[in-house]
């Protein structure tokens, strides 16, 4: 069938000479002048001025005691606290996501009992404030004075309680993140894997999870940063993390503000490093989705 395309015909046709204005120069020689954006410049100027004011006040106000900040930034006590914060973050993240993945798998299984238990877990641990939960574990000895003949207080030190409490809390959120990631994978991927005879474990490990990771990494990165800062809550049960370490110092020296700045700066440093790491992890799991490699 002969096809005539009227649109491209008109587009290809040269413009009739009568349509051009009489004094028109060569169109290619015309210069394009962008519109003046006065409002945009004014807004930028105001914001920059406010920022400068804030900066000046921070530098000029001696109460910040930046010299004290510098003195304490790399002391052993602070670094040891930082070490514990990092260790706690990694442990909680790894254990939390391991338990969370298990909970997600249970929630997505065909077994109604496993589904119900997983749902109940997430419901309970998302409903309980982490501070309440930590205090609860701290006083668990009141419920179970001994476990297998050992005194509960001796068995569960503050650090163990911190790991348990934070992990159980983390797992509830991780379960939802992982479940969301798995649900984001097209059902056809699973059918293709089934029709190729791939076993359940292989399907999850090789086909579904790598694709789910693209949807899991951004919220997991959020959670990682949240967990890093969230670990500061364990200072209430006297675990010597970054915050508690600087608190110990300022309870002695009364230099509250500079030592809180020490902790803040360290949290900012670590968070920035983690953010950069997330970029590379995301790029790894974006394999095959970008137009060019």
């Amino acid at each position: 069938m002969p096809l005539v395309d009227p649109v491209s015909d008109t587009l290809d046709a040269p413009a009739p000479p009568a349509a051009a204005p009489p004094d028109a120069p060569d169109p290619a020689a015309l210069r394009i002048v962008p519109r003046r954006r006065t409002g945009r410049r004014a807004a930028a100027a105001v914001v920059l001025a406010l920022l400068a004011l804030a900066l000046v006040s921070v530098v000029r106000n001696d109460a910040f005691q930046w010299d004290v900040v510098a003195d304490y930034f790399l002391t052993t006590a602070v670094l040891r606290g930082l070490g514990l914060t990092l260790w706690l973050t990694v442990a909680v993240m790894v254990l939390g996501f391991a338990l969370g993945t298990l909970l997600a798998a249970m929630r997505l299984s065909d077994n109604p009992v496993l589904r119900g238990v997983s749902w109940g877990y997430v419901w309970l641990f998302r409903s309980m404030p982490i501070l309440v939960q930590l205090l609860f574990w701290f006083n668990i000895g009141a419920l179970y004075p001994t476990v297998l003949g050992v005194k509960t207080v001796d068995l569960l030190g503050p650090v163990a309680i911190a790991v348990i409490g934070l992990t159980l809390h983390e797992a509830a959120y991780a379960a939802e993140v992982v479940r969301g990631g798995i649900l984001s994978v097209d059902k056809g991927q699973l059918e293709a894997a089934q029709s190729l005879g791939l076993g359940a474990w292989r399907r999850l490990r090789r086909i579904v999870l790598p694709q789910a990771m693209r949807a899991i990494v951004p919220p997991a990165g959020n959670m990682l940063i949240g967990t890093l800062k969230g670990t500061s809550i364990v200072s209430v049960i006297a675990v010597q993390d970054l915050l508690y370490s600087v608190q110990l110092v300022y309870h002695r020296t009364y230099q509250v503000i500079p030592l809180l700045l020490v902790a803040t700066l360290w949290y900012i440093v670590v968070t920035s490093v983690l953010g950069a790491g997330q970029f590379f992890v995301e790029r790894h799991y974006a394999r095959g989705t970008a137009g060019a490699r």
Binding site: D186, G188, Q189, E191, A192, A193, Q194, S195, L196, G197, L198, G199, A200, R202, R206, I207, P210, Q211, Y285, R287, G288, T289, A290, G291, A292, R293
Partner: protein, 256 residues
């Protein structure tokens, strides 16, 4: 001749989704080495029928056999016991399935897409699987795309990779679910050419499609389905040119 043995034997298969009856008693026999093309309007149950053949859909009643053994079940007396997943997966490795939307694994290269099943399901050494995969890519005209990712290929190329992936298990039966329906018109030909090539080599195939020209050229048997039933079947010259049922006539007049 081997064409006398039934590769696929579907007997009075019923299937419902809730109140919706999709298959209302379908009988179909496909002999080894033959190409069966299934035609029919949307919702006629043709894709569902195809999916029951490799147990992607469970039947409500009736039975499906491939190469003499029941698919998904073991019979003892008057009962059909559902097989363990491991056994069903094993059966599926003998049945290649090509999807309308390809369903290539986007995070794996073309080569890894093809070697995944032979390596993990058939326990082939990786080296052998890769050599076989490259030979298959050559056969579908994509020898230079082994290291590309699916998204870097056109739809037609992706579907040809999907066919190579199905062939990598050396199946005795190939099922095609509207293999060209998701393609731009100018890419349909390259995929049909690959399927025709397979047909000429005596591969047993069941193809659900809307390509009447393809049916006429390649099919040994054309099956016309409507409303969850097979309305008529026979050689293409008979079903396509001298349909006996009004429903077939009206369908053909719309698609031709």
């Amino acid at each position: 001749m081997s064409t006398q043995t039934a590769m696929v034997d579907v007997r009075s298969v019923h299937k419902s989704y809730g109140p919706l009856q999709v298959l209302k008693g379908v009988d179909l026999t496909v002999r080894a080495g033959e190409v069966t093309v299934v035609l029919g309007p949307s919702g006629s149950g043709k894709s569902t029928l195809l999916r029951t053949i490799n147990h992607l859909e469970k039947v409500d009643s009736g039975s499906v056999s491939v190469d003499g053994s029941l698919v998904g079940y073991r019979r003892s007396g008057n009962k059909l016991h559902e097989l363990r997943e491991r056994e069903i997966l094993k059966q599926r490795t003998g049945i290649g399935f090509v999807f309308q939307n390809f369903h290539l694994f986007p995070h794996l290269t073309v080569l890894a897409n093809i070697t995944e099943a032979p390596v993990s399901a058939l326990r082939r050494p990786k080296k052998d699987a890769e050599a076989a995969a490259r030979a298959l890519l050559d056969r579908v005209g994509l020898a230079d795309k082994a290291d590309a990712y699916p998204k870097q290929l056109s739809g037609g190329q992706q579907q040809r990779v999907a066919i190579a992936r199905a062939l990598a298990l050396e199946p005795k039966l190939l099922l095609f679910d509207e293999p060209t329906s998701a393609l731009d018109p100018e890419l349909v030909g390259e995929v049909l050419d690959v399927i025709k090539d397979l047909a000429h080599q005596g591969t047993t195939m069941v193809v659900v499609t809307h390509e009447i020209g393809f049916a006429r050229e390649v099919a040994d048997t054309v099956v016309f389905m409507d409303g969850g039933r097979i309305v008529e079947q026979g050689p293409p010259g008979q079903v396509l040119d001298h349909p006996r049922h009004a429903r077939t006539t009206s369908f053909l007049s719309k698609v031709l």
